[in-house]
């Protein structure tokens, strides 16, 4: 293969030849098997060494955007057909302000691609509900966020969670959904479950409503069945599994706060996130008590605090957005 033919071949790989040159190249290659082999070797070498032109890199970027759009379109045929409905829903979402959506859209890199991460957050005092690209529904409790990469549902279904979320997972045998949270991993094919992993709770607790769920902590592994709850200690990673009324753990998705046996400090933390207030427990003796409660999000925090304090035989003093739970017969002055 002489220089001219090599040059012509490279030009061909780069898409810069004219029809006449291609015709010439073809006749040279088909004339001898040796030239054809050299041509193939040259192509393999070119593939590993060439740098794509700016034009091609730009077109690749455009293709990636189109591909993402096409994927989303295929996944949500209903909203695509009812574009106005999608618009109304989007407007409603914004209006209610339940959801703060932060797509951390980085700049489109030329090549090769770096994965984008999407993060959805429900700030304190609010709830959120989203659909993941595979159709899985996720309810986000107050002060929680989940994130996933742009390749979600193509090469994996990994999400990471901080806080509490309820998942209704669309079944997909090939791609298990994996939730990572404070050192634990939950692996599912398709099921409905709730995970509570607030950092200040000191444990991760999962309640399984339907299907099956595999839990991995740094020190162990456990398979859960329907109606079971596991709690994983954040400190030791030990897994404790028990049967419980699991419906109570997803009552928050329906705007209720219902627990049959909740430790008082945990209840206080939940209330403070739910209503975005600060609650300071200043009575040692009640910390070890458990309570059975049923409230609605519609109730005012003042009423709820009054009821709770009545049961615990304590008083609460409100200062701004903070509630202080104190011994009976203490006044506002004692607090400050």
């Amino acid at each position: 293969m002489d220089n001219r033919l090599t040059e012509l071949s490279l030009k061909f790989f780069e898409g810069k030849t004219t029809a006449e040159e291609e015709s010439l190249l073809f006749s040279e290659i088909s004339r001898s098997g040796e030239t054809a082999t050299e041509f193939r070797l040259l192509e393999e070498k070119w593939k590993t060494t060439h740098t794509p032109s700016r034009k091609t890199a730009g077109e690749l970027g455009a293709f990636r955007r189109m591909a993402r759009k096409a994927e989303r379109r295929d996944r949500r045929p209903f909203l695509r057909r009812n574009i106005w409905l999608a618009g109304v829903l989007a407007a409603a979402c914004v209006a209610i302000g339940l959801l703060v959506f932060k797509p951390e859209a980085g700049k489109e890199p030329a090549a090769p691609a770096k994965a984008q991460t999407f993060m959805v957050e429900a700030p304190l005092g609010t709830h959120g509900k989203i659909s993941l690209p595979d159709g899985t529904s996720v309810w986000l409790n107050a002060g929680s966020k989940i994130s996933y990469d742009a390749d979600f549902n193509t090469s994996n279904r990994n999400v990471s969670l901080v806080g509490e979320a309820c998942f209704d997972v669309v079944h997909n045998e090939d791609l298990p959904l994996v939730v990572s949270t404070s050192g634990c991993r939950f692996r599912v094919l398709g099921t409905k479950f709730n995970i509570s992993a607030y950092e200040d709770d000191g444990c991760v607790r999962a309640a399984l409503i339907e299907g099956s769920l595999q839990v991995n902590s740094p020190v162990g592994e456990e398979v859960m069945a329907k109606g079971e709850v596991v709690s994983v200690s954040s400190e030791s990673g030990s897994i404790h599994k028990y049967a419980d009324d699991v419906a109570q753990y997803i009552s928050w998705t329906e705007g209720k706060i219902r627990y049959s046996n909740i430790p008082v400090p945990e209840l206080m933390r939940r209330l403070s996130r739910e209503f975005n207030v600060e609650i300071v427990l200043q009575v040692e003796s009640v910390s070890s008590r458990n309570m059975r409660v049923a409230f609605s999000r519609e109730d005012s925090i003042d009423d709820i605090m009054k009821a709770v304090c009545e049961i615990l035989r304590t008083s609460s003093v409100k200062v701004g957005r903070s509630f202080y739970i104190v011994e009976n017969n203490k006044s506002r002055k004692d607090v400050q």
Binding site: F12, F13, E14, G15, K16, T17, T18, A19, E20, E22, S23, L25, F26, S27, I29, S30, E43, K47, P52, S53, T56, A57, E59, L60, A62, F63, R64, M66, A67, A70, E71, A111, P112, A113, D151, T154
Partner: protein, 187 residues
């Protein structure tokens, strides 16, 4: 999608060159190529590179074929290239791992389209067309060969050019249909 990224960077430039050979329109070619990759996305998984690039090329070629059939027009540039098209298409087919039997789809289609247009020309024009576009001769050479002046040859070439342009304009049905819609949507 990392697989496709490689495939894109390695094969997109030459695929684009191939497609633009037949569309003679840069934007149209890019659209066809991008669409082909999008279509490939839904069916490439689990296949080896050889069959994926074969698939890619076939998709793009079918899109070109649709384009040629729907536009029913042949650019004169394509006519000028036509004696190389056959070999050129075979070269591309080979570089996308297609066998020789599977090649020459588009060049044949182009030939048919050209023949259809040329058959409407006068015998003299046809002669000029063959010499210029099939044999690739210069106007002056054609003049000497046919015993006519160079400007007479140029006149024939203009007639040929018009014939090709006319072919493009004989199918305005679609456009006529669009006018009321256009008016409704954009007024």
């Amino acid at each position: 999608m990392t697989d496709l990224t490689h495939l894109y960077l390695d094969y997109q430039p030459r695929l684009l060159n191939f497609v633009s050979r037949f569309t003679c329109d840069e934007q149209e070619s890019l659209d066809i190529v991008q669409d082909s990759f999008i279509k490939l996305m839904s069916c490439y998984q689990g296949k080896d590179e050889e069959s994926v690039k074969k698939l890619l090329f076939t998709i793009a070629r079918n899109k070109c074929l649709d384009y040629l059939k729907s536009s029913r027009t042949v650019n004169l540039r394509l006519a000028a290239d036509q004696r190389f098209l056959n070999d050129s298409e075979r070269l591309y087919s080979r570089s996308f791992s297609l066998s020789d039997e599977e090649s020459q789809v588009l060049s044949l289609e182009v030939r048919d389209l050209i023949e259809k247009i040329v058959s409407t020309l006068s015998p003299r024009c046809r002669e000029v067309f063959d010499l210029k576009f099939v044999n690739g001769m210069k106007n002056r050479e054609i003049g000497i060969r046919l015993g006519i002046s160079e400007s007479a040859v140029e006149k024939h070439v203009r007639t040929i050019r018009k014939a090709f342009d006319r072919e493009a304009a004989t199918h305005p049905d679609l456009l006529l249909w669009m006018i009321p819609f256009y008016w409704v949507f954009f007024s």
